[in-house]
Every structure is written in C-alpha cells, then in structure tokens.
Symmetry: C2
Subunit: 109 residues, 2 copies
DNA sequence: TTAGTATATGTCGATATTGACATATACACA
DNA sequence: TGTGTATATGTCAATATCGACATATACTAA
C-alpha cells in the first residue's frame, strides 16, 4: 500500500528520494501532495470537458502550454495557486473544486 | 456592493490600485482572492479552536510567527500552498477545508 | 511519406514567496 | 508603574515558481 503510493508519486515526478524518506514524510505533507495531485487531475478533467486544448487554457489564464502540461502531470514545481487558477479558468465551479478535495480524502490513505 | 468589496480587500492589504483597476480584475482573479481570504480566516478559526498560539502553529509547520500572522491577515504575499499547509497543520479536517470553499462561494459576490 | 495538431519535457532568467529577524502594539496581571 | 504573553508589521537574502522557449513524442490525415 505504502509502496503503491510511493510509485504513484514517483511516476508523477515527485522527488521523494528513498522509501525511508517517503515514509518519514509527515502526514501533513502527504495530505498536501495528495490534494495537489487530486486538483491536478481535476484540471485535466475540466479542460477536456469544455473541449479546450492546453494552449486554449494557457491563453485564458495568460500562462503557457508547457505550464498547463506540468500542472496536469502533477509536476512538483507547480504551486497550488497555479493549479487553482487553472481550475477556475477551465470553467470549474466551486462545487467541482470541492469534489476534488473529496477525492483527495479517499486517496489520502 | 463592488465598493464594499474593494474596501474589504484593501483593508486586508491587497494592492488593488484604483477602483477602475479593481473593476477590471477578472472574475477569475476575484474568485481566487476571495478563496484565499476565506481559507485565511479558516486558519485562524481552526487555530483558535485547538487553542494554539501563532508560535505553536508556526513550530508545527516549521514556519515563523510572523508568517502565521500574515496568513491570517490575508497578506497578498502569502501563497495558497502556505495557507493550506497552515490549515492542515492546525488540525483542520478535509471537511473544514471544503467548508471554507463554501463560504467563498457565498462571498464571491 | 509529409504536414498539422496536441501534449510532454528540460532549461533558464525574471519574479514571487519564504523563514528569520527586529520591532511595534495590545492586553492582562502584579 | 513594569513584566510577560500574544499578535502585527516591515525588511531582506535565500529559495521556489513563473512564463517562455526549444524540442521531442504521438497521433491523424492527405
């Protein structure tokens, strides 16, 4: 279980270092990472739903296609601010954002 | 109404410039600002509820008392990441965070 | 094949955000 | 009065994150 989660995070590009380092990740940090990953996939879902390309979304929020790709890939260099800005710009409702938090709760363990 | 909101934001330290600038704030940016303010007050509420001082919370999340004060004051220099980290460290549940989003929806207009 | 479109990945100089620190303010209590 | 505790505010060097750009990959269609 822990191992699965580690692999998922590494696959998403998170530098978690050794398994020991990961297991020492505080509960709080793990929750934040899970939250960001959940919101990241919500961005992709919302963008696709509105039939927007990454370039379309980038223009809407005055960012760049490569940034949108990094947001959706769960790149660790992306801030929560940018993720939420993308969610909003993609047309997600407050309810959509709340739903992403709920997914996070399920994924938290 | 718009004027009231402008005053609230300015009181919280947001550099919104002239009233015209504020009125040109895109709907998206306004939503993000309102969201951050809502989460900021949720931090204070959660911290008080657990009877933590700002110093206590700062130690829990390896930040500083002055940063906590700025979070709670809605200082524009504070990132969404830091606000959510504070919320989590203060003991807020996922449900608490969702509730803050709901408040945001009401405040959005 | 070639061309067009969408997405992914790596880099970098510019900008935003950080913790730490000093210091001010406010309030309670002796 | 002074002393202690909690919070607010301003600054700054270090670090994190940004948009932009180049380029790679993948898939369609001519």
């Amino acid at each position: 279980m822990k191992t699965d989660k580690l692999e998922r995070l590494q696959a998403a590009g998170w530098k978690v270092g050794s398994a020991e380092d990961f297991l020492q990740l505080s509960e709080e940090e793990a929750r934040l990472v899970a939250l960001k990953l959940s919101l990241s996939s919500a961005v992709k879902k919302s963008r696709i739903k509105r039939k927007l390309s990454q370039i379309d979304l980038a223009q809407r929020m005055k960012s760049s296609q490569s940034r949108i790709a990094k947001i959706e890939a769960g790149d660790p260099s992306v801030s929560l601010d940018l993720i939420v800005r993308a969610l909003i710009a993609s047309g997600a409702t407050t309810r959509d954002i709340q739903a992403a938090f709920t997914v996070n709760e399920r994924m938290a363990d």
